[in-house]
Symmetry: C2
Subunit: 416 residues, 2 copies
Amino acid sequence: MSFELLTRRQKALGASYRLFYEEPFAPVRGEGVWLYDKDNTPYLDAYNNVASIGHCHPAVVRAIAEQCAQLNTHTRYLHPSIVEYAEDLLGEFPETLNNLTMTCTGSEANDLALRIARCHSGGTGILVTRWAYHGVTSALAEISPSLATGLPTASHVRLVDAPDSYRQKDFVGSVKAALEDMQQHGIKPSALLIDSIFSSDGVFSPSNGEMAAAAQCVREAGGLYIADEVQPGFGRTGGQFWGFQRDAVVPDLVTLGKPMGNGHPVAGVVGRSDLLDQFGRQQRYFNTYGGNPVSCKAAQAVLDVLREENLQANARDVGSYLAQGLRALAERYEVIADVRGEGLFIGVELVENCDARTPASRAAALVVNGMRQRRVLISTTGPAANILKIRPPLVFTRTHADLLVERLDATLASLS
Amino acid sequence: MSFELLTRRQKALGASYRLFYEEPFAPVRGEGVWLYDKDNTPYLDAYNNVASIGHCHPAVVRAIAEQCAQLNTHTRYLHPSIVEYAEDLLGEFPETLNNLTMTCTGSEANDLALRIARCHSGGTGILVTRWAYHGVTSALAEISPSLATGLPTASHVRLVDAPDSYRQKDFVGSVKAALEDMQQHGIKPSALLIDSIFSSDGVFSPSNGEMAAAAQCVREAGGLYIADEVQPGFGRTGGQFWGFQRDAVVPDLVTLGKPMGNGHPVAGVVGRSDLLDQFGRQQRYFNTYGGNPVSCKAAQAVLDVLREENLQANARDVGSYLAQGLRALAERYEVIADVRGEGLFIGVELVENCDARTPASRAAALVVNGMRQRRVLISTTGPAANILKIRPPLVFTRTHADLLVERLDATLASLS
């Protein structure tokens, strides 16, 4: 670790730029599920969901390099790449979700989805979960309580309980109550915006119709159901390509990001053409880099690889195998209270007292740093940061899962 | 032109996706100032300010291809590329502007600058020019009247006259009046956000201290002066590296975008470290792709090429030569009322009647489409879209300028 580089970094970038781990990690090279430091020591990556098909996948590298050398303009010119990608991507959605607008980041996608919802509903009210994270723009920061900005939640926002299977929260009841409260305050709802894997709230994957029921409530009140698939999308949850499909509900709008270009900045909004057209007729929307040929070729390569390497099925199989291994650890370590999630998006909740369910935040931090010392990269999530967040590239194998469980075992043993 | 591709595009992308020109242009390859269609016919690009160092510059292509194959993670890990780039870039700014935060798009940069300004001032009031464009997020759409959203301008926004040298508008007086109006309505100002070349307002490049005077007014009222350098920045205006330097004023925050990665999605906010630190301590800001090693290497390659190929000086020399040629045309064509701008950002105002100064919007559209038929790409700007916007890659030479003037001559002759 270069102290000199840290000092220079602090000076040039300032306080916003925080680093992971007590001992920051400095990778210089990536390949598949591995990140390598300057001494060529491999670290098992069980955290990065952006490099979803594996770090530096040659198909993506080639697509970007070739298209960069050929043409990289914008969507005011006609180019087949965006049309071909849009058609291919939309084939992965229910038939009524038949339009794509491309952006560069998941934040831009969620922000645009809010604009479309306001345009359609004529309302401003937004419902999000209590510890939601949806992005970094002004409009998204005020509906992302997990940023802990200390800002008062804006008057048009209502927070609802996530469908917490461990603490048995009533998600649908909470949505109903929030809608009633909006009505009492004369706020017209525009959208319920939900991360289909509830990542920042603590990783939940309801499949009992709760998301469908919540969607129905908000629609009856005149708002849209927006599925934030920035994290769960593109096969990660294994059982389905998009998180919302777990619950047999069709959203009005779906937002995409992180793994869409395996690290290249590409994101988008998929939705019903009547909604996107209504917005497009009333307002100009043009995203300078969004949907340029390089982005489209990168995104197309990702989609191709996901299919060719059968990564959704791998996420299901390896995810289920990994969860088993983690549950076996839970038998031996009292601190592990719950293992949940779906596919290769797993949450491991640590508590200090099983009856009181007191979050073991300090233990979680020790585990994450202990795993980093043992060269496995994971993180935490949830309002108390007591839930281990395990979210590796989708090319993770059973051998990698065994390694992770073995290192977690050693880490937990060292804390006992 | 493929009618089939147009139909498929309309179906998959919908109404938001508009194309330039009556006969849309479909480039397949780019090199330097040239874009080529499928028949390998060259088009002179005098429009694209993103591919600022020339389409598909090999130095950028190489930087992206190499880093993509090596590592593409995020700024929660330590990597020298962002530190080295930040130090190099900050060297191009006045000493007090000593921190960089990286984003993916100019929209994200402007949106973040507003958040920083609100955090610092405790106010919400924003001043922008009457036909401003600052980006596509929710917060930026409501301060971008040129998007013509039909939405009521938000109550915290005040519009001011651009320093229109042709119609002799009083920019500073307008800023003063708007600040007084805010005070009367109990709105605390947070920022004056100004594009230093006033691109969407019609291309103005004041150098008489107006921007400095306006900045002083907003600072006295407790707000910040944010220079939007997304369009004028990185040497385009020739006389200086950043547009604001023309007026010997140092902004509080500067936003960057478009040409920063020559097409790769990279952007950022440069500002005083006390402002960025205050924000960073109070609020979490993390941009998933922002400042990743690939973005930094692409941006570094652009900065290197700008210097090695002496492109700022070229913008000044060729820009001045081109403006001369355009002024010579103005002697012969009454419709050209004013040739203005700086470096390779030129506005040519067309009017129907020199005394009444009636905008010749229809003539401007005919010229733009006529130039496209003559294989030169330009566009229009301004509230009446009667101002030709000429903004080529900075590798434009005098030979290219001659060709542009010759084709514009032919186009104007054909309209007479």
